[in-house]
């Protein structure tokens, strides 16, 4: 202050104003950085915490969810709870989640949690619960899964609300015994809602099948890949349209039923 008093009043005022503005700005930057760090850290959703059906992507969800808990109140099965600071580390405080191994989503047809959400953090566009994508089930431990060992547990398959669509039992050869089958639980992600009933009901002390966030659970094929057996249209329009080669006379598909049977046979070895 003593330095300021020596200056003309106008200059002193301007200097004081600039100093105070710079102080305020510096304080805001320091505090703002800390707050930004805390807020963006909260976007890292722990792998075992599942958002309610219809939840927006985690980034968009934290912009939308006001943490009011109306979805929690609407849930008839007490599946949902609000994250508590300290008790649920990694989760943004006060946001709704469920843990599949404790209480899975019962997939109510009227989706009351979505109806209750006042902000659209749970997307009102979700009208069929089968279209919910809370996560994706993964048979995460094929060494301990009883079915993978060749036994018939089948519990995850039986409890799946989308049985034979989201989880199928795929027959495989049991190489250990040599003459048994393995009924391998196989998840089909396009039908899996991530409700978590499979994880909840796995009979092992630690579930062999777990629901993970889809981003963790799934690979992403490259955009330019074309699966020939799924392509019904020519790869490049009007450039390549080869005639379909059906089994039959005149083709080289000799072994196929109805295929060309030559009128002569090569003499077999040993004759």
């Amino acid at each position: 202050m003593s330095a300021l008093t020596k200056l003309p009043a106008k200059v002193a005022d301007r200097r004081r104003f600039l100093q105070e503005a710079a102080r305020a700005l510096a304080g805001c930057c320091v505090f703002g950085l800390a707050l930004a760090k805390l807020s963006s850290d909260a976007k890292a959703l722990p792998a075992q915490a599942l958002r309610p059906p219809g939840a927006l992507d985690e980034g968009a969800f934290l912009a939308a969810c006001i943490r009011c808990g109306l979805c929690v109140r609407a849930c008839p099965y007490d599946t949902l709870s609000l994250a508590e600071i300290g008790s649920d580390p990694g989760l943004a405080t006060g946001t709704p989640f469920f843990t599949a191994r404790q209480v899975p989503c019962e997939m109510c047809e009227d989706i009351p949690c979505v109806a209750a959400c006042p902000t659209g953090a749970l997307d009102k566009g979700l009208s069929r619960i089968d279209d919910a994508r809370m996560g994706t089930a993964v048979l995460i431990d094929q060494e301990n899964c009883l079915n993978a060992l060749g036994l018939r547990c089948d519990v995850c398959y039986r409890v799946c609300p989308a049985i034979d669509q989201a989880i199928t039992l795929d027959l495989q050869h049991n190489a250990r015994s040599g003459h048994h089958a393995i009924f391998m639980p196989t998840v089909h992600a396009d039908a899996c809602t991530g409700c978590g009933k499979c994880e909840k009901s796995c009979v092992l002390p630690e579930a062999a099948i777990k629901v993970l966030p889809t981003a963790i659970a799934r690979a992403k094929p490259a955009d330019h890949y074309r699966l020939g057996w799924e392509e019904n249209t020519p790869l490049v329009d009007e450039l390549i349209d080869l005639p379909d080669r059906l089994p039959g006379p005149g083709t080289d598909n000799l072994a196929a039923p109805g295929g060309f049977e030559p009128s002569f046979k090569f003499p077999e070895a040993g004759q």
């Binding site: 304080g27 930004a36 943490r67 009011c68 709870s81 609000l82 508590e84 600071i85 405080t93 006060g94």
Partner: protein, 314 residues
């Protein structure tokens, strides 16, 4: 300082009525705070779901949506356009506080207020120093920081650390370690900075203050001519800077307390023996004669800020 209780001792006649007269708004305010907590608690406690949710967002009787407008605004800043229900709720709440005094939220609803009031009471009893007093503009800067950080991170940023919602939500849905935040606010106000949280830092209160910039319901120093400079009101007012202009203004100046910092708590009405203050509306043009200044007092007051005065008269 002549406290309300000391005054009681000198006036034994109709004790109860005098006690009530000296504590009416405090009692009403605590009742209101308890009401806004209990109305949310009877759901989880007794299964009576009149009100669901918490102060950030709620649904009353299945029809009335209410949304915290500050949370709503941060959500907008984070580029989420909320559904109609949240929008309606925010508009209703903003209108209500726009009429009743923005910071009426702080005095009559906020669950942190009893905590900071307790800290302030203990601060007074222990005769502690004022401590760090950041500029009153700090909370406005924090409003800006909360909105900017919300926009940058795409989250509702202040809710990451907001002790107000942590306490209210915690009591209703489960506390976790949120009580540590509440304890931190209490200790901050008690030991580091008198009235520091609500009076200087909390951006929620500052935002509600901005909402109530033109609010209708206001306190007025209507009978300021009767003021005898006992300073009770300064000692008890959580935002004492709002008092000096209306109280000490000349005949032409309005006795209305129009500062957005005033929380309409009415405690000045309670503590004033001479009934200087009353609730009225902002358009009240009743002329009020200036407060007669005794020379000794005038001299003493002019050189000092109100905060320093009340610091002395404890």
């Amino acid at each position: 300082m002549t406290t309300a209780n000391q005054r009681l001792a000198t006036m034994p006649a109709s004790r109860e009525r005098r006690w009530l007269r000296a504590n009416l708004f405090l009692v009403l305010r605590r009742s209101s705070q308890a009401f806004f907590l209990l109305i949310f608690m009877i759901g989880p406690w007794f299964g009576i779901w009149w009100v669901q949710g918490n102060l950030a967002g709620s649904l009353t009787l299945g029809v009335l949506p209410l949304t915290d407008p500050f949370v709503f605004l941060q959500s907008l800043a984070a580029l989420h356009w909320p559904a109609t229900s949240a929008l309606t709720g925010a508009v209703i709440v903003a209108l209500a506080y726009g009429l009743l005094g923005g910071r009426a939220y702080c005095a009559w609803v906020c669950p942190i207020n009893p905590v900071t009031d307790a800290a302030s009471w203990l601060h007074r009893k222990l005769g502690l120093k004022k401590g760090w007093q950041p500029p009153k503009s700090t909370r406005l800067w924090l409003v800006a920081v909360a909105l900017v950080v919300s926009a940058i991170t795409g989250t509702i940023a202040w809710e990451t650390v907001n002790p107000v919602s942590m306490l209210h939500r915690g009591l209703i849905f489960g506390m976790g370690s949120a009580w540590l935040f509440v304890l931190a606010v209490f200790l901050f106000d008690l030991l580091l900075s008198r009235r520091g949280w609500c009076g200087h830092l909390c951006p929620v209160g500052a935002f509600y203050g901005l909402l109530g910039e033109k609010s209708i319901l206001r306190v007025s120093a209507a009978k300021r001519s009767a003021c005898n400079d006992c300073m009770d009101c300064y000692a008890v007012c959580p935002e004492m800077q709002v008092l000096s202009a209306p109280l000490n203004g000349s005949d032409q100046n309005s006795p209305l307390i129009l500062s957005r910092d005033c929380s309409n708590c009415g405690r000045c009405i309670d503590v004033c023996d001479l009934d200087v203050f009353k609730f009225t509306h902002r358009f009240d043009r009743t002329p009020a004669a200036a407060h007669a200044k005794r020379p000794s007092h005038t001299k003493k007051i002019q050189g000092q800020l109100p905060g320093q005065i009340s610091g002395e008269i404890r």
